[in-house]
Structures are given as structure tokens and as C-alpha cells.
């Protein structure tokens, strides 16, 4: 271990409990963290990257057995540390930032109190000084109105603000090591860019060693000094960021880099002479909450004067940050919520004016694929039933519907034996395929895909995107594709509508939008996409 190394992980081997899909969570992993440097640990879900982080924090679950290896820090092997040793180390020497700042903060405690707890845990400062220090930290991480934020509860801040608060907390005791576990994955692109900037800035100023876990090569190219690529718990490649990104040696690294969608939209044939599948005219939707004798009501305009159409066989993308109204528009088009004003036409049918039996019948024409493949399938029903339920509800003979469900599973690349299994027996990508089969079961003309590939690993994401593209061509589907990921949008959409605060600010063919964005917000979004230089390298 050289003088310039903060932490040295050597031959770390962590055993999974019996009956797991592989014997080791982490198998013979070695890497170093150096002061003032960011090490990115990259891999897909289940690659063992979070396990490394938890081992470094001493937060491994009891079921994981530390079988071999060493984590050397400050002259001691952390793997042999007792509880008291860890208490002194955590927070003070090693701090951690988690992926989802909403769940990583205690919902019942004020932000200031949660930061002050850092000092309390190590018996530092007086309660009064802790409060002042919390305020000062919030100022340092650039939280707006720190005096107000310090008294706020987590739910009163936005996602980016919460993550800033988390970072302020992690930095409170000026630790030598910061472990960041996917700290920007849950954030919008523009917020992500700001948080990455913040981490890099603080790390340089404080000369911290950072272990940055991510699955996103765009982020890697923006922030990493060194990169470790993990696959199934093993290091397949490590080196300087530039080397790994430019000259990947291992086939797995190459495959991962190749799976990152390019910012270059592929050429697409114009569809101008097709008939309209969906026409959206002047949609308005305002959510009103509150309103009592002593409180003003709060209005959120989720859709204002939204106009667009989707031609037959066309994919229209809706992009924008969280809260821009994308999902509300999707739900309005699906008529899962009622608009205040405006019309949605499916072909010649006015979808917003029908009700009762007629509405139920027409609903089969437009179907949805959801974001979270874990939450969108009923865990207590077999896959065959999940797919066949819709057609049976619409009067199809159950035997026929089940036969069709088996065919659909084949169509989305799954075995018909999946019919008799439950959703938890499948991986995320497989579940998303089941979700697609379910949407197709009613033989819809239009598919609404709400962040349908956002929860998937890049390699799986590429497969699912290909599947959607293929199905669309074969079945002549039209698609409304909602995403926050401009790379994905570039690959799959014919036209893209950019949404901001409930309104569409720009709607153009994909290639034009990427090459000549007009609206400032579109330009801002495009500029914030991480890893723009490296992706052209990789592609």
C-alpha cells in the first residue's frame, strides 16, 4: 500500500447465503481509493458493487459472510474491526450518500436535526453549535434558503435539494472517504449535472477519496479518475478512466459501452402520409389541493394547452424533468384521469366524451407499459392469468385467452412455461417483457410506455428497446413513449415533444430536435446529458 492510498481493498471475498444464485457476492476483488481521486465502480444490478460499498462501511447484512481478504485503512484491517471501532469510524472517517434521498432521510425529523445528529453521534460540539454548523453546511452545498431548509422536513424539499442535504450530512465531519452509492440515479438530468458538479468540487477542495458507484457510463466519463468494472462479483477490468472508456479490454466492458444508447438519432423514414392514431387537442389539467379557512389552496398545472398527434406506426416521445407533466399527460391520454378541458381522439372516436360500456370497450385500443416491473405486476397472480385477465374481461373465452397468452410470451421472447409461474421468479428485464405481453394481450392500436426502460440495466434496456421497436413494426403499433432519458428517446422516437411545467415547449422530428434545438429549455436538457464526449467515442 503506497503512501498515496487512503483505502486498500485486497482479495475481498464475501459469501452469499446458501441457496443464492451464486456462491460469492464479491469474489476476489481488489482496488484502492486515493485521496483527491474519484473511483467509479461500474456494473449492472447484482454485480456486487453495493456489497463492496457496504463492506467498506461495515454495513453488510448478517447473512453475508466475510470469507477472505482485507480492507486496509489507517493501519488497521476493517474486516476485523469490532462494533465500537466501527462506531468511531462511521461518519467521522467514512461517510456515505445513498441513491434515493427521499428514503435515506428520516421522514419524521427536520433536516437540521438529522445533520446535527452527525456531531451528536461522535460527541462533538454543543447542541447550539451543531445547529449553526448544520446551517453552514447547507449553505456550502448550495441549498436555497438554508435558514428555511434547516427547519424543513424531507418531504418539503425537492429531490435535488434532498440529495444536497444528504451530501451536507455526509461531509459534516470532513471524512477522508466518501462512498456514494448511485447518488444521482433518482434525479433529473439537469439536477444530476449539478450534483455531480457539487461532488467533484467538494472532493477536490477537501482532498477526499471517493468511491462512486454507478451503472451509467455517461456519469463515469464525467466524473471518474479511475474505473473498476464488476461482473457477477468479479473485477473484469480496472484502470484509468480514459483507458477503460477509450480502450476497453474486456468483452463485458465493451458490451456495456456499446449498449449505452447514442445521442445520434438513427435515420428514420418520414410518416407524413399516414392517418392519425391519436389526436390530442387543448388538454388542460390542474390539480388542486388544500383550501380551507386558514390555508390557501395549492394549484399545480400538470397540463396546459397540450396539443399533439401520433400517426399510425409512429413513436412520439414526451421528455422533460420530473414534475413537468409527462406522466399526467400519459394518464390523460389513457383516460385514467379526467381532463379539465380538451379532447383526446383515438382514430375517429372522441375518447374523452364516451363513458360506461362504450368507454370500457374502447379502452382495449390503448394500453400502458409501466416503469417499475416489480410494482406493476400483481405478486399473487400467475403470469398466465396476468396476461389473460384483460381479454377475459372483454369477453374472450378463457381457454382462447390463455392460448393467446402463451403465444404472446413467445412473442416477447419468453418461454410459454412462464404461464404457471409468479412474477417474483423473473428478473427485472423478464418482468418488463411480461408487462409488454400484458399490454399487447388486448391487441391495442396504441401503446403508452411510461418510463418503460428506466428501471433496467443498460444491456437489458437495449434488448427491451429492440423488442419494442420490433413489435411496433410487426403489429403496426403507435406509441407514446415517456422518458427522462434523452439518449433512449433519440433511439426510439420519430418525433419528440419537450415538456416543461405542464406545457409542450418544442415538438420536432427527433433528428431536428437534437441537431437544432430552439427552445432554451431543450438546449439546457441536451447539454445536461452526461458523458457526451465519451459516448461518441464508444459509438
Amino acid at each position: 500500500m503506497s503512501a498515496a492510498t487512503t483505502v486498500s481493498i485486497r482479495n475481498l471475498k464475501l459469501a452469499l447465503p446458501k441457496g443464492s444464485d451464486r456462491p460469492y457476492a464479491v469474489d476476489d476483488v481488489s482496488f484502492d481509493l486515493q485521496p483527491g481521486k474519484i473511483l467509479c465502480v461500474v456494473g449492472e444490478s447484482g454485480s456486487g458493487k453495493s456489497m463492496c460499498a457496504h463492506a467498506l462501511m461495515g454495513l453488510l447484512p448478517d447473512t453475508i459472510i466475510r470469507q477472505a481478504g482485507e480492507i486496509a485503512y489507517d493501519g488497521q484491517n476493517l474486516l476485523t474491526l469490532d462494533d465500537a471501532g466501527w462506531l468511531a469510524l462511521r461518519g467521522r472517517h467514512i461517510a456515505m450518500v445513498f441513491q434515493e434521498p427521499m428514503t435515506a432521510l428520516n421522514p419524521l425529523m427536520r433536516i437540521g436535526d438529522q445533520i446535527a445528529e452527525m456531531f451528536e453521534a461522535h460527541n462533538l460540539l454543543t447542541p447550539r453549535q451543531r445547529k449553526q454548523k448544520a446551517l453552514q453546511l447547507l449553505r456550502e452545498v448550495g441549498l436555497p434558503e438554508p435558514e428555511r431548509s434547516v427547519r424543513a422536513y424531507p418531504h418539503q424539499l425537492s429531490g435535488g435539494q434532498r440529495q444536497r442535504a444528504m451530501i451536507a450530512m455526509a461531509l459534516a465531519l470532513e471524512p477522508a472517504i466518501l462512498v456514494a452509492d448511485e447518488p444521482t440515479t433518482a434525479l433529473d438530468v439537469t439536477t444530476q449535472a449539478q450534483i455531480l458538479e457539487l461532488i467533484r468540487d467538494l472532493q477536490r477542495r477537501r482532498n477526499m477519496a471517493v468511491m462512486f458507484i454507478t451503472h451509467d457510463f455517461g456519469v463515469v466519463s464525467d466524473i471518474a479518475d479511475r474505473v473498476v468494472v464488476l461482473q457477477h462479483g468479479k473485477v473484469v477490468e480496472q484502470g484509468a478512466a480514459d483507458d477503460v472508456l477509450r480502450r476497453p479490454q474486456h468483452p463485458y466492458t465493451r458490451a456495456l459501452l456499446a449498449a449505452v444508447p447514442s445521442m445520434q438519432p438513427p435515420p428514420r423514414t418520414p410518416l407524413a402520409d399516414r392517418a392519425r392514431a391519436v389526436e390530442v387537442v387543448g388538454l388542460d389539467k390542474t390539480y388542486v389541493s388544500g383550501g380551507g379557512w386558514f390555508q390557501p389552496e395549492r394549484r399545480v398545472q400538470a397540463a396546459k394547452q397540450v396539443n399533439f398527434d401520433i400517426l399510425q406506426g409512429e413513436t412520439v416521445g414526451l421528455v422533460g424533468e420530473s414534475g413537468s407533466g409527462k406522466s399526467s399527460v400519459a394518464r390523460l391520454v389513457m383516460r385514467l384521469i379526467e381532463p379539465d378541458q380538451g379532447t383526446v381522439r383515438l382514430g375517429d372516436t372522441d375518447f374523452t366524451r364516451i363513458s360506461g360500456r362504450a368507454l370500457r370497450k374502447e379502452r382495449s385500443r390503448i394500453q400502458m407499459i409501466f416503469q417499475d416491473p416489480f410494482a406493476s405486476l400483481n405478486p399473487r397472480r400467475k403470469v398466465g392469468n396476468i396476461i389473460a385477465d384483460g381479454p377475459i374481461a372483454h369477453g374472450t373465452d378463457p381457454a382462447v385467452a390463455r392460448q393467446r397468452a402463451a403465444e404472446l410470451l413467445g412473442l416477447v421472447g419468453l418461454n410459454a412455461s412462464a404461464m404457471e409461474r409468479y412474477p417474483h421468479e423473473f428478473s427485472g428485464g423478464q418482468r418488463q417483457r411480461i408487462g409488454i405481453a400484458r399490454a399487447l394481450a388486448l391487441e391495442p392500436e396504441i401503446i403508452v410506455a411510461d418510463e418503460a426502460v428506466s428501471a433496467l440495466d443498460v444491456s437489458v434496456q437495449a434488448q427491451v428497446l429492440n423488442l419494442l421497436e420490433d413489435l411496433k413494426a410487426r403489429l403496426g403499433l403507435s406509441m407514446l413513449f415517456i422518458t427522462h432519458d434523452l439518449r433512449v428517446a433519440a433511439q426510439i422516437c420519430d418525433r419528440i415533444a419537450v415538456m416543461q411545467r405542464g406545457g409542450i415547449v418544442e415538438l420536432k422530428p427527433t433528428a431536428t430536435l437534437f441537431s437544432a434545438p430552439e427552445h432554451p429549455y431543450t438546449r439546457e436538457l441536451l447539454a445536461a446529458v452526461p458523458g457526451q464526449i465519451s459516448s461518441s467515442r464508444a459509438a
Binding site: L59, G91, A121
Partner: protein, 323 residues
């Protein structure tokens, strides 16, 4: 917040009114004529006497008029007259209510404290013998009929060991005053309150245990550990506080029903409370008294629901009064 309370109170009045009307109709629909019963008990069931009784108590009036009079009475806290006990219903209930509140209140506190304590311990040592022992113990008290546990407690602590009195609210004829009286009532309270408390404890213990195990999985508990906080602090400040939210809901639901739910305990221990009053009124077809007890019990449920909502809003900042 004031507007919230005002709105909730207005709603509560409407609900209470609906309950009163429904109960009134239900009792009038039941077979048996109150005037006949009264006349029969007076030992003179001739037609003229029955008619006189009907006129006297307004039973000859059409049903809507009777209902109107009854509701009007309730508005002025007049719950009618118990012919069996020859006393106004409101006065009867007022006499018995403190005893019931003392019993159920104590039982409630016992069940909540023990339940949360045992639930916390079970969650802390989840999967070990301590967890199993606590769960089984709680289940035994929950599964065993309340009256049986009560009888066994009397046999053990009153009959064979003679530690505690077995029935009543105070020692008859002792006429204690001051602190001696408090001690006397306290001694009488121990057995019924503990029996009832142990029964309800099981639900709180199970709820607390499940809720704590659920909360423990959240990321913010990991954040707390990453800070270097001691485990005891994490359990108390981060886990328990969040885990208590569903327990508050359950406690609120249960607190409301405790007033009417003490029938068995009060009967076994001869505790002079509302439960026994209701039981007697039922046996004696004392309709006015029965209705009166119903109204008071309903009002209690509504009051505790409102209190629960207020507490819930105080402990969970995510809930705002406006929504």
C-alpha cells in the same frame, strides 16, 4: 387547524344523528311493545292501563313524532327516562361512566405500554427464542376467552392467595376516604384492568413488532448507522418513532370501542360500569337506557377518532391539516 376541528366536529354531529335515528328505528322494529312490558311488570296488564302508559310516554304518537321528540331531547342532553330504574337515563349513565373510564383507561394504558414494550423487544431479537416466547405469550392472552382468564385470575390471586379483591369497585361498607379510598379502588382495579389489558396487548405487540421490522429495512436506518450512531439511539429515534405511526391508528380505533367493549370484564368482576348497565338494560328491555348507552358509546368512538387524527397529524409532519 381550527377549521379542521370545526369541520370534523360538524361531520361527527351528522354521523351521531344518523346513529341515533338508526338505533331508534331498530329498537322500535324489535318485537315486543314497551308499554305492554311496563304494564306487565307493574302487574296490571289491562287495556286501560296500557293505553294510559302509551299516552304518558308518547308511545301513541306516530313514529316520526316520537323520533323528533327523542332527537330534540338528546340535543339538550336529555336521554329519556328509565322506567325500570325510575331514573333519568343521563343520570344513570353519568353515575356509571367514571368507573368504566377508569377501568378501560387503565386497561388501555397497560395494553399499549406492554404491547409496545414487548413488540419492540420481539423486533429487537427477531428470530430468537425471546421473539418466539413473546409472540406465544401474547397469542395465549389473545386467544384465551377474556372471561376465562378473568376467572382464573380471580381463582389464583383472590381465592387461593388472597392478595386482591375479586369483585366490585370498592370495599362495600368500608367508607374509606382520601388516600385510603384511592388505594382501595386501586386494589380493586388491578385484576380487571390487567386482564383486559393483557387481552388487547397482543395486537399492539404484534403490530409494533411487524412495523419495526418493516421500518428497519428503510434506507434512513442505514443512514443513521452510517453516521456512527449507537444502536440504542437508532432504535429509539429512527426505528421506533416511525414504527409507532400504525400503532397510533390502531390505538385510536381501539380506544373508541373500549367504553362499550368492557361488558364481559365488568360482568365477571361485578364492576359497576357502563358495560354492566348495558347488559342489564338488555335483559330488562329497558329501551331508553339501551339507546342512551348506544348514543354515549357512539359519541366516544367519534371523539376518539377525532383525537387520533389530531395526534396523528402531530406526530407525522407529512400530513397537513388542509388535505
Amino acid at each position: 387547524m381550527l377549521s379542521f376541528i370545526a369541520k370534523r366536529l360538524a361531520k361527527a354531529v351528522v354521523v351521531l344523528l344518523a346513529i341515533v335515528v338508526f338505533n331508534f328505528m331498530l329498537i322500535r322494529m324489535a318485537p315486543g311493545d314497551p308499554a305492554m312490558v311496563m304494564a306487565g311488570e307493574a302487574g296490571a296488564s289491562d287495556q286501560i292501563f296500557v293505553t294510559q302508559l302509551r299516552e304518558k310516554f308518547g308511545l301513541d304518537q306516530p313514529l316520526p313524532v316520537q323520533l323528533y321528540r327523542y332527537v330534540k331531547g338528546i340535543a339538550t342532553l336529555d336521554l329519556g327516562f328509565s322506567f325500570r330504574q325510575q331514573m333519568p337515563v343521563a343520570k344513570l349513565i353519568a353515575e356509571r361512566l367514571p368507573a368504566t373510564l377508569l377501568l378501560t383507561g387503565t386497561a388501555f394504558v397497560i395494553s399499549l405500554l406492554l404491547g409496545v414494550l414487548f413488540g419492540t423487544l420481539a423486533a429487537r431479537f427477531a428470530g430468537t427464542w425471546a421473539d418466539t416466547a413473546i409472540t406465544i405469550l401474547a397469542l395465549i392472552f389473545y386467544a384465551t376467552p377474556l372471561f376465562w382468564v378473568a376467572l382464573m385470575a380471580i381463582l389464583l390471586f383472590s381465592v387461593s392467595m388472597d392478595w386482591l379483591p375479586s369483585f366490585g369497585y370498592e370495599t362495600v361498607g368500608a367508607n374509606y376516604t382520601g388516600f385510603a379510598h384511592v388505594l382501595d379502588v386501586g386494589a380493586h382495579l388491578i385484576l380487571p384492568a390487567t386482564t383486559m389489558g393483557l387481552f388487547f396487548m397482543a395486537t399492539y405487540a404484534r403490530m409494533t413488532r411487524a412495523s419495526m421490522l418493516e421500518v428497519k429495512r428503510h434506507d434512513f436506518v442505514k443512514t443513521a448507522r452510517a453516521k456512527g450512531l449507537r444502536d440504542a439511539v437508532i432504535q429509539r429515534r429512527h426505528v421506533l418513532r416511525n414504527a409507532l405511526l400504525p400503532v397510533v391508528t390502531l390505538a385510536g380505533l381501539q380506544a373508541g370501542t373500549l367504553v362499550g367493549g368492557a361488558v364481559l370484564t365488568e360482568t365477571v368482576f361485578a364492576w359497576p360500569g357502563i358495560g354492566r348497565l348495558m347488559y342489564e338494560a338488555l335483559l330488562q328491555r329497558d329501551y331508553n337506557l339501551l339507546l342512551g348507552v348506544f348514543v354515549v358509546c357512539s359519541a366516544m368512538v367519534l371523539a376518539f377518532n377525532l383525537i387520533t387524527d389530531l395526534i396523528y397529524r402531530a406526530v407525522d409532519p407529512r400530513i397537513e391539516f388542509a388535505s
